[in-house]
C-alpha cells in the first residue's frame, strides 16, 4: 500500500474509479430478468439508483451485478407483461 508521500494530495483519484469497485457483494437479494415478460419500457433503467441496468441500442440487457445492491426497486416498478413480472428478486446463495 502507498505511503503518504506517494499519494496525490487531497485524496484525488482518477475519474470513474467506482466503476472498478465491486459493490455488488453487498447484495442479499439479486434481481433476475425474465426476458419473455419484458416489454422494454425501461422503467427499471429509470428507477435504478445505481445505474446497474445495462442498455444497448435502446434496449435493456443483463444486470450489472458488480454494482447492483439488490434494493429491489426495479422489481417493484416493473409492469411486466399480462400480470407477469419481468424482474423478480431471489435470495443470494440459493
Amino acid at each position: 500500500m502507498k505511503g503518504w508521500k506517494e499519494l496525490e494530495i487531497g485524496a484525488l483519484t482518477k475519474a470513474g474509479s467506482a466503476d472498478e469497485y465491486n459493490t455488488g457483494s453487498w447484495r442479499a437479494f439479486r434481481p433476475v430478468w425474465i426476458e419473455e415478460n419484458c416489454i422494454q419500457c425501461l422503467f427499471c433503467w429509470i428507477y435504478c439508483p445505481d445505474s446497474a441496468i445495462t442498455v444497448k441500442d435502446g434496449k435493456r440487457g443483463e444486470f450489472d451485478y458488480m454494482h447492483c445492491k439488490g434494493c429491489g426497486i426495479c422489481a417493484m416498478e416493473c409492469p411486466g407483461k399480462k400480470g407477469k413480472k419481468a424482474i423478480v428478486m431471489e435470495e443470494e446463495g440459493k
Partner: protein, 392 residues
C-alpha cells in the same frame, strides 16, 4: 508608494479583494463582515472585477460553493463572522481536507448565546482545528496586507491549504483609520496568476475529488495535511520578504515589541495589542522591563520561534479574547506548549478579556503589567486564569 486613504477595516478588505480579483466569491452577509461583501458586490455590479459572485442562502452553502468553485479550478474568496463561520463548520474541514486554497476574511465576532454582534475571538479560535491557515491582524492595514499575502501562502505549491485572515469586529472592521493601499498592478503582479492543480474543468484529464477513504488510507491523507502545515512557516516568511519589497512593510510570524530585554511580557492578538504597546511604553519610561508578543500566524503556531522570543521572560500574561470553558484560554494553551519546547519555565497567567466586544482599555493593560510585576517580586500567583474587566 500607494495611495493613503482613511477607510474602515471592512473597506480595506473589500479593496484588497477588488485588487485580487478572484474568479469566484460566494458569501452570505453577516454582521460585522457585511460591509466587506456589500462593497465587493458593488465592485462586481460596476464591472470593476471579473468575479462570479454567488449569492447563496446560507454560510454553509457559501463555503460549499467556494469548495466547488475551487475544485473547478478558480481562485476563490469569501468573508464571514461568528455564527456564519459556525454554520460553515463541516465545510471548513472539507475545504482543508480537499486541499482547496480558498481565502476567507473572518471579521471576528462573539458566538451566541447570548446573542451579541461585537468583536471577540471565539469564532476564529473555535475554527482552530479545521485545518485552515490562520493569520491575525491588529488593524486595517495589517488585515489588507495579510489578505494579499494569504493568497500567495494558501496557493503555494508546498501548502495548498485554505487560509483565513482575522480582524476584530467593529473595533477594526467599522473604525476608520488611515492606511496605505498598494497600486492595483503591484497587487496583481504580487499574487500572480493562479495555477489550479487538477481542476475539474480540465475535461481532458478527468479526476475524482472527495472520495470515500476508509481506515486503510485515511491517516495518510491527514499526515499530508500535517506536512503542508509544517511548510507554512517558511512560506509565510518568504512571502513576507517579497511583500516588504513592494510595500515597505515588514511582517514575521509574530511581532515582538520591546521584548529583547523584557522580564515581563504580555501576549495578545489583534487590536488589543495596540493598546498594550502604548501602556508598555509608559511602563518602560518608568524603567519597568516589559514587552509584548503579538502572534500573527496562529495556525500553524510557530512554537519554537515564540519560545525563543519569550525565553528570557520571567512572568508572562497571556490575554485571551475567547473562552475555553473549563480550560485555559486558547492562546494561553499555545504559549504554554511553546515554552515546553525550549525548557524555559516562566510563570504564566491567563486573562480572559474583551468578550462580546467589552472594551479593553489602557487601565486593563496596566492592571496586567502590575500583576506580572507583583508575581515577579513575590513569586506568588493568586489565580492562573481569571477574567479582566468583568463586574462582580
Amino acid at each position: 508608494m500607494g495611495k493613503v486613504l482613511a477607510v474602515t477595516g471592512n473597506q480595506a478588505i473589500a479593496e484588497a479583494m477588488r485588487q485580487i480579483n478572484p474568479d469566484v466569491c460566494a458569501a452570505y452577509p453577516i454582521t460585522p463582515s457585511t460591509e466587506v461583501m456589500q462593497r465587493f458586490a458593488a465592485f462586481v455590479a460596476d464591472g470593476k472585477v471579473d468575479t462570479e459572485l454567488v449569492t447563496v442562502e446560507s454560510e454553509h452553502s457559501a463555503m460549499s460553493a467556494c469548495i466547488g468553485a475551487s475544485a473547478a479550478g478558480g481562485r476563490v474568496m469569501t468573508a464571514t463572522s461568528s455564527q456564519g463561520l459556525a454554520l460553515m463548520w463541516e465545510m471548513l474541514h472539507i475545504a482543508s481536507g480537499m486541499r482547496m486554497p480558498i481565502v476567507m476574511t473572518l471579521v471576528n465576532r462573539a458566538l451566541s448565546a447570548p446573542i451579541n454582534i461585537h468583536g471577540d475571538h471565539s469564532d476564529g479560535m473555535g475554527a482552530r482545528d479545521c485545518g485552515w491557515v490562520q493569520l491575525w491582524s491588529e488593524n486595517g492595514q495589517e488585515a489588507y496586507d495579510n489578505l494579499i499575502q494569504a493568497i500567495r501562502i494558501a496557493e503555494h505549491e508546498d501548502v495548498r491549504l485554505p487560509a483565513m485572515v482575522n480582524m476584530d469586529g467593529f473595533i477594526i472592521s467599522h473604525s476608520i483609520e488611515s492606511m496605505e493601499f498598494l497600486p492595483d498592478d503591484v497587487v496583481k503582479d504580487f499574487i500572480g496568476e493562479y495555477k489550479p492543480k487538477n481542476p475539474l474543468l480540465d475535461i481532458e484529464n478527468p479526476v475524482t475529488m472527495g472520495p470515500l477513504v476508509l481506515p486503510d488510507y485515511f491517516m495518510e491523507f491527514k499526515r499530508q495535511q500535517h506536512e503542508a502545515m509544517l511548510h507554512v512557516k517558511d512560506v509565510v516568511l518568504e512571502v513576507a520578504k517579497e511583500f516588504e519589497k513592494v510595500s515597505g512593510r515588514s511582517y514575521g510570524l509574530f511581532e515582538a515589541y520591546r521584548l529583547d530585554d523584557a522580564e515581563l511580557a504580555i501576549v495578545v492578538l489583534n487590536s488589543a495589542a495596540g493598546t498594550c504597546k502604548d501602556v508598555i511604553d509608559e511602563y518602560r519610561d518608568r524603567g519597568i522591563k516589559v514587552g509584548l508578543l503579538k502572534p500573527r500566524l496562529f495556525r500553524p503556531f510557530p512554537y519554537e520561534e515564540v519560545a525563543e522570543a519569550l525565553s528570557g521572560v520571567k512572568v508572562i500574561g497571556v490575554l485571551d479574547r475567547a473562552e475555553s470553558f473549563g480550560g485555559f484560554g486558547p492562546m494561553y494553551m499555545e504559549i504554554a506548549s511553546a515554552m515546553m519546547t525550549n525548557g524555559s519555565k516562566p510563570i504564566m497567567i491567563n486573562k480572559i478579556y474583551g468578550l462580546g466586544g467589552r472594551d479593553f482599555m489602557p487601565e486593563h493593560a496596566a492592571m496586567v503589567i502590575d500583576e506580572l510585576k507583583e508575581i515577579a517580586e513575590t513569586g506568588k500567583v493568586k489565580l492562573y486564569k481569571d477574567y479582566l474587566g468583568v463586574r462582580e
